[in-house]
Symmetry: C2
Subunit: 266 residues, 2 copies
């Protein structure tokens, strides 16, 4: 079994992804996790509820989620994007089932109602934040579905211990899920050939990273890549053996990255 | 096992519904089907994609679903509403799982790309209509979940034989699902005490309807009620023995209707 986690960038080619999953899934069980950030921002804008990005004191960016933002999140992740992916996979002969972290309490998270954020030089406390960090996974549900040849297509939000819906970091949740499922390999696809030394030059691909030296690569990570790196660290802590970072825009995105075209962390 | 189908009206009291489900579910398996029409219309308006209602030549109203309308539908039904209901049920101790008709090809529909509609005295042909009529149910998936004490929370859209996402009539789909699951009773809740002789007078409740004389009651059905009546006819055709129509706004909505407070069709 392995996990494929695909970012929410607009240039991800979902036909290529589905094609690869349909051939790889014949040999091995796959769990798919996806984002939808571009579409979320688009609909947030259309609904006049623009996405608010905040920066933690340690410099990691994340989305501030109030009640209105959570509605947009639910709509675009668990509704629009999740179901479009499921239908696309069905079209490639894969019996996909879409689930959010709420369904069957699949992703149980510790709510984090107050967060500190950096605004210029100041540190501020934000309240009424509807996010949380995933701690427990309903692996029984995933295994129940996998054993009947369903392919779970999973996305945030998660559900808190108090049964509130909470936005959650997808890379972290994927790491915790990999640990709970005892998955050894994760494929992470986004809109770049892998981690780049120079973000604007695709020829500067970093082909291999020693999992014990991940921190040294934080300097090459901007924005969302920082979360991917933190997610990777967590995954190795929980027993994952290898993570592949690769390009979700090209033909055979998963087969390519598994054969070494991308960044391998191990 | 019985099916509870709840309309998408804004005055449905979901806390009361969840409370009843949590006590009834201890004795009997329940499958929940829900709508979200009020919220859909609200977000369709906010997104400047107002819901277009069309009238069939036989006088039944339905929603014309183009690509843009289908996006709104996916967002509000399968995303926002479905997940809020699931979280609410989780809060009442019920391990609910939300599924659209797309997931696991739960509701397979025959696409109906062209529909005839009545505009004044004229009959027009509308093309590119993304709707379909549910014909086949993945009962294995529902039983798989029920046997592990999950409560399925199901909503449209459905998936066509060509693996396209299609909007579908919820009452019809519920009837077909009841038939496939060999369910004998369906509880249908909406924003009225049952079927009324005079829609503006709640004292004119029709308490009992002979299932063989349903057509005679079509005169009391306006708008969406017509679809409920057609759905009921289909359900009886497929082996359902009794249908309860009742009020989703009041305390103990399901327990009340099962004890006779509403319209019983049998």
């Amino acid at each position: 079994m392995f996990i494929v986690k695909i970012g929410g960038g607009k240039n991800i080619n979902w036909d290529f992804v589905c094609e690869d999953i349909s051939s790889l899934n014949k040999k091995e069980k796959i769990v798919l996790v996806h984002g939808a950030s571009t579409k979320r921002d688009e609909f947030a804008q259309l609904l006049n509820r623009p996405t608010k990005v905040v920066i933690s004191p340690s410099g990691v960016s994340s989305v501030y989620t109030d009640k209105e933002a959570l509605e947009v999140f639910l709509m675009v992740y668990a509704g629009l994007t999740n179901k479009q992916i499921v239908a696309n996979l069905q079209n490639y002969g894969i019996n996909a089932i879409g689930l959010s972290g709420i369904d069957g309490a699949l992703w149980r998270a510790k709510a984090k109602k107050e967060i500190y954020v950096k605004e210029g030089d100041k540190i501020k406390l934000l309240k009424n934040n509807l996010t949380g960090r995933v701690e427990e996974i309903n692996t029984d549900l995933i295994n129940l579905l996998l054993n009947k040849d369903y392919l779970p297509v999973i996305c945030p939000p998660a559900i808190s211990y108090e049964n509130e819906i909470v936005n959650t970091d997808n890379d972290w949740a994927t790491a915790v899920m990999a640990g709970s499922l005892k998955v050894k390999e994760i494929v992470v696809l986004f809109e770049a050939p892998g981690l780049l030394r120079n973000v604007s030059d695709e020829k500067t691909l970093i082909e291999r990273i020693d999992k014990n030296k991940l921190d040294e690569y934080l300097v090459y990570c901007s924005g969302r890549m920082k979360k991917k790196l933190l997610g990777a660290k967590k995954a190795f802590e929980l027993g994952v053996k290898r993570i592949y970072w690769g390009d979700g825009r090209i033909k055979n995105p998963i087969i390519n990255v598994l054969s070494g075209k991308g960044t391998i962390i191990d």
